[in-house]
Symmetry: C2
Subunit: 204 residues, 2 copies
């Protein structure tokens, strides 16, 4: 691994484009000897802090994006279907991620993958705290039982850690999901993978 | 050429992403035996009709996009620089386009290329009617002298034709530049070139 800074990968657990990026960023970064720091956010909170509207708020854009999600997944070779309930609130998933990152760090990224796939490939409701704590128990190899995780996710510490992550994202000028920052340069959208790869290749 | 419908290519003459698409769409369409119908619009008017904000209205997004324009041009191999005055009003250019399309149709696309390159590669002010009528005279092979074109661009007929084109774009649910519609499916952004190509390839 390079001594350079990790690549920051901001995403919302309910974001299809964020999910697509999650399936691509690790092998890309590894190819260039870089680490990835996963930073789940609540997109609506980040956008609200900037005074920006959500991408799905206008029906014309929502209809367009629902079609674009499916064709983008096909183009990228990713298993995807639009969940019956879309989008959903993702604060339980994001808080559980930071909880794992702090206490069982090797479990955090596998947990994130399992949540994204559960929602955006299998269509499960990831706003459900029981589902989230079950996935976190599994990813952590039983470090905590699910009921304990559910208690920790509801606790003030977990809320504060997610708030701090969101605040940091706002300060870093993140305004979408996925949003990757590599060596100070932002890349918004899974369609910026070629731009990101060009930068990483130049930086070698 | 195929008997299928032409591909509609909507763009604003001040849009860098629209310019990048203008340099790519013709060879792509030709490869799949399809024609392209160029449809310049005034993006602010289309967005206003939908109640949508402009892409450059928020400083965070503007700063991001100014950087992204340059790296996208580099990735696509297109000669580009950010004009000193950006964006500009493009109603003269768009009206002149529809005027040529009606009276000297073979001159319309060459004129559009010359305007886009003049602004986004050479940095000239394309809100200037003298510049626009000069480029239109040249593209039309002197069909009209520039002074006559300037008069026609200022006339009510030219205004009405552009208004009709904008209204049509709104009805087609266009909400950005570039926006391509192929066989009823929309493609927003030059980053949708691979998606468009996949569709054209499937349709063969």
């Amino acid at each position: 691994m390079s001594a350079r800074e990790a690549i920051d990968f901001y995403f919302d657990f309910a974001s299809p484009y964020g999910y697509f990026m999650s399936e691509k960023i690790t092998p890309l970064a590894q190819h260039y000897g870089r680490e990835v720091r996963w930073r789940p956010i609540l997109l609506f909170a980040v956008l609200r802090a900037h005074g920006l509207a959500g991408p799905l708020e206008h029906p014309i854009k929502r209809d367009y994006m629902v079609n674009d999600f499916a064709r983008s997944a096909a183009l990228l070779g990713i298993d995807y279907r639009l969940p019956a309930v879309f989008p959903v609130l993702t604060q339980h998933a994001a808080r559980a991620f930071y909880l794992l990152e702090k206490h069982v760090p090797e479990a955090a990224v596998p947990f994130a993958h399992s949540v994204l796939r559960s929602y955006l490939a299998d269509g499960n409701d990831i706003s459900d705290l029981d589902r989230i704590s079950g996935l976190a128990e599994k990813a952590s190899g039983g470090f905590w039982p699910a009921a304990r995780i559910a208690d920790l996710v509801r606790a003030d510490d977990a809320k504060a850690d997610l708030q701090a992550a969101i605040q940091h994202a706002v300060e870093q000028r993140v305004f979408g999901s996925p949003f990757v920052i590599a060596d100070g340069e932002g890349f918004f959208g899974v369609d910026r993978l070629p731009h990101l790869e060009a930068k990483l290749a130049r930086g070698q």
